[in-house]
Subunit: 136 residues, 2 copies
DNA sequence: TCAACATCTGTTCATTTGCTCATACGTTGA
DNA sequence: TCAACGTATGAGCAAATGAACAGATGTTGA
């Protein structure tokens, strides 16, 4: 990050660059991950942001499964499941083991596994969360 | 998915109904969250799946900030920031405190906070993850 | 050899998403 | 009172996304 530790160093940005609390902004900025990290992280979250893909990954928490079974479990067509798995594979979230004409997928990302575990844990505890209501 | 009148009326219709490993499928299915939970969880992940929105939320890890400062920190226009915050507000991820013509937002979801903390921790450790390369 | 099989892939299409612009709202100080 | 200000909102548009369909590839057993 730039913002080299001067008190009033944050008038850099053009546009409506009016900062109300320059110190806080400077601190927050210094702790903000790089753009690349932001994009990568958002990317990972994006992979978990689809119910079908999510169920695919949750199914793999237990161990490897073939495309066919994954399709059944996740409620996807086999083609759609294959597409989804290809996406996840491209992002190194899952890996394949091929055995003849079968393809067995498994979770291959410890980070994602933690996120999934956390999500499941929260799901089990909190059953009465209703997003999408409205704003104040 | 409705292959009717196939020439070969051999086994079940189409391909969606054949399970390779029935036991595993049964187990996985029994542990699979409800459709509602899947959608809700995917929804939350979806909120974190955008780099700008993510930086908005990361900025709030430290404490509350006004829309203006959030816009600067996240690199969004003030209008875009307001739109994003509205979305997050609708999902109870952030809450507002109004003081005069200012609006101070804060993180208001422990679950999301955990996810963000986890993401940041992983970001700091793993700097060399390059998704989107290709598949085996 | 052939045919059934499990999976993979490209294309097309409708929906969703996130932004900008213009504008409206409530607050503040002159 | 009024104008500048901080924020909120709706419309509209371009880009990204997810699903279906058709077809391709490599594998197995007869």
């Amino acid at each position: 990050m730039q913002s080299s530790s001067s008190e009033q160093a944050t008038d850099i940005d053009s546009c409506a660059a009016k900062v109300v609390n320059p110190e806080r902004v400077a601190v927050v900025r210094s702790r903000m991950p790089s753009e690349t990290d932001l994009v990568d992280t958002a990317d990972i979250f994006g992979l978990l942001a689809d119910p079908r893909r999510l169920s695919l990954l949750l199914a793999l928490l237990e161990g490897e499964l073939c495309v066919c079974d994954l399709a059944v479990v996740s409620g996807l067509s086999e083609s759609a499941a294959s597409h989804a798995l290809r996406l996840l594979r491209a992002h190194r979230v899952v890996s394949v083991r091929r055995a003849g004409r079968m393809a067995y997928y498994r979770l291959d990302d410890a980070h994602v596994r933690m996120l999934l575990d956390l999500a499941v844990a929260h799901t089990e505890h909190t059953d009465a969360i209703h997003p999408e209501r409205d704003e104040s």
